[in-house]
């Protein structure tokens, strides 16, 4: 997918949006706080809002051009949206909702098999139901299916996960990734959640005040935001359960063993660990109450606000810790130095 948008839209002085970017990729994020213009961007791209002037080109096709007098109507753009609160048609069954776009898609564009999609999204048992008798997660799965079945060339996920709790969020993320890869549909994932952006995209446009501020990778964005964020940098640790010991769970993380209090009996899990919950020692601390002591190598350091981020390598895994500037100076933390990372068992937060 290659998208370029050089457009301006003014909402009577209250808000104005100006963009000029080109982005290429299959899983692109748009990150920004509410009011930064993300939803306006979605509306402009889908044809629901008409720009004052400018040009929108998707995969070589011009969707809008004020200069050439082109404005492709939304129904012909093949750009489908999944909204925050599913927006299913309340007067139709799940099946009719799913087929709404499919039936209207010209035969030459119909590449997705309905049965295959229904099974990928696990919608088999729901088809005859009315949409008001679905749970939040089911609704969003149907909305995703409905959008994909319209055979779009681009899927817009407009804060599609924001209304869901963590467990459902991960479930939908899993479905979205599978469906997008299986049916080769690129998506633009719009969110104010850095976590969602990191889990779902490989590059990201940052927005603020109606402008696209930059284009970067989710990892880079997370590091830049570490200093100003309330929660620091969130490390995502994919782990495998080994055993239970006393009140603690023992997980394998790469080549290390981790002691975690908030574990459960699932064989696999993803844990969040804030960069703020990692304490660094330059020498082996003889006795600490924290249950996890990892020997790591400093790979890199980077400034972020008044903090210094420290990229650590433990075995094959990477961990980001943060220290204040003075601490970094005192400890003389530099690349290739060895340090000990100390983490309390209660600092891990379960995601799934």
């Amino acid at each position: 997918m290659e998208l370029s948008m050089a457009v301006a839209k003014n909402f009577g002085g209250a808000f104005d949006l100006r963009t000029d970017f080109t982005v290429t990729g299959e899983q692109v994020g748009v990150f920004g706080v509410s009011g930064s213009g993300k939803s306006t961007l979605v509306g402009l791209l889908a044809g629901l809002i008409e720009p004052d002037h400018g040009e929108i080109v998707l995969d070589g096709d011009c969707l809008f051009s004020s200069g050439r007098g082109i404005n492709v109507p939304p129904q012909e753009r093949r750009v489908a949206i999944v909204f925050q609160d599913s927006c299913l048609f309340p007067h139709l069954s799940v099946e009719s909702n799913l087929l709404f776009g499919y039936r209207r898609c010209p035969t030459r564009h119909r590449q997705i098999d309905v049965k295959a999609l229904v099974s990928v999204l696990k919608l088999d048992g729901l088809l005859d139901r009315g949409v008001n008798r679905l749970s939040g997660g089911e609704k969003q799965r149907v909305a995703l299916g409905r959008a994909i079945l319209s055979n779009p060339r681009l899927l817009l996920m407009d804060e599609s996960l924001s209304a869901l709790d963590d467990a459902l969020k991960l479930q939908i993320i899993h479905y979205l990734k599978r469906a997008s890869e299986k049916f080769r549909i690129p998506y633009l994932f719009i969110s104010h959640s850095l976590l969602e952006i990191r889990l779902l995209t490989d590059q990201v446009l940052t927005m603020g005040g109606g402008r696209v501020l930059g284009q970067t990778t989710p990892e880079q964005l997370a590091r830049e935001r570490m200093g100003q964020s309330q929660v620091g940098y969130i490390n995502l640790l994919q782990v495998e359960k080994l055993r239970k010991m006393g009140g603690l769970y023992v997980y394998r993380w790469g080549m290390e063993e981790l002691f975690v209090s908030a574990g459960d009996d699932g064989p696999m899990a993803v844990f969040e660990l804030s960069s703020r919950d990692i304490i660094l020692f330059t020498r082996h601390p003889e006795a600490v109450s924290a249950r996890n002591l990892l020997k790591c190598t400093v790979m890199d350091t980077f400034p972020s606000g008044n903090k210094v981020g420290v990229e650590l390598r433990c075995g094959h895994e990477t961990l980001i810790a943060e220290v204040v500037v003075q601490a970094a100076d005192d400890l003389a933390i530099q690349a290739r130095h060895e340090v000990y990372a100390v983490i309390k068992a209660s600092s891990f937060r379960r995601l799934s």
């Binding site: 889908a46 109507p73 939304p74 129904q75 753009r77 909204f83 927006c87 709404f100 776009g101 319209s150």
Partner: protein
């Protein structure tokens, strides 16, 4: 036990015929008008709004008189109707027209309420899923306005059954041709010894109104449950 006379039955049948025709004729226009007013912005909106709602506040007699002037032999609409051989004044069709004009704002009001309660993003979703505006109107907006359409139609039907002022001027009060229930009651009330017959027709009017309201209520409930 009082019984309905043959002219009374004629009046009842005529009332039902006029009210039903007026409602059915107005429905497509009412729906389109509500759609225009809910989903579009245009310059003459306020003016159109005032014109359509005028019959709500205007005395029906004034409506009737203006219709009479407009449709009359030398009226502004005469050159339009005459070549077609259409004569409206003092026929039951004039009663339909009068009822339609007076009941239209009630019909539109309910449909608009229903349309305004439709989440705008449902319409947007339909558009991005490949439905054009007419397609969206028929497959999303129309079914989601059902409650309003039913409610508005029944209100308009009931209002048409009771139309008096405009009808008597533009359609007259001709027994068997344009004399509806209200006109018949008016006749009985003015003639000595007509109390019994007048009361009987009143009872019929009350019964019909109650019936319409009951149907309206049960349909609305059914639709809200489905939605």
């Amino acid at each position: 036990m009082p019984v309905l006379s043959s002219p009374d039955i004629d009046a009842i049948v005529l009332s039902l015929k006029v009210a039903l025709t007026a409602t059915l004729l107005s429905l497509p226009f009412g729906f389109l008008y509500a759609y225009l007013m809910t989903f579009f912005k245009f310059r003459a909106k306020v003016l159109l709004e005032v014109l359509v709602n005028l019959p709500l506040t205007l005395p029906p007699v004034v409506m009737g008189y203006l219709l009479l002037v407009a449709l009359g032999k030398n009226g502004p609409l005469a050159p339009l109707l005459e070549p077609l051989g259409v004569r409206l004044i003092f026929t039951w069709k004039a009663a339909v027209l009068a009822s339609a004009l007076v009941g239209f704002p009630l019909l539109v009001r309910s449909i608009r309420l229903a349309m305004e309660s439709i989440d705008g993003r449902l319409v947007q979703a339909a558009r991005t899923l490949g439905a054009g505006s007419v397609d969206t109107l028929l497959t999303v907006i129309l079914p989601l306005s059902r409650t309003g359409i039913v409610a508005g139609s029944s209100l308009m039907f009931a209002r048409s059954m009771g139309e008096f002022g405009a009808t008597i001027i533009v359609a007259g009060n001709i027994p068997g041709i344009t004399r509806t229930i209200p006109l018949a009651i008016y006749d009985y009330a003015g003639s000595p010894g007509g109390e019994q017959a007048a009361l009987l027709l009143c009872a019929v009017a009350v019964a019909l109104s109650v019936l319409v309201l009951l149907v309206h209520e049960s349909l609305t409930r059914k639709l809200t449950r489905r939605q």
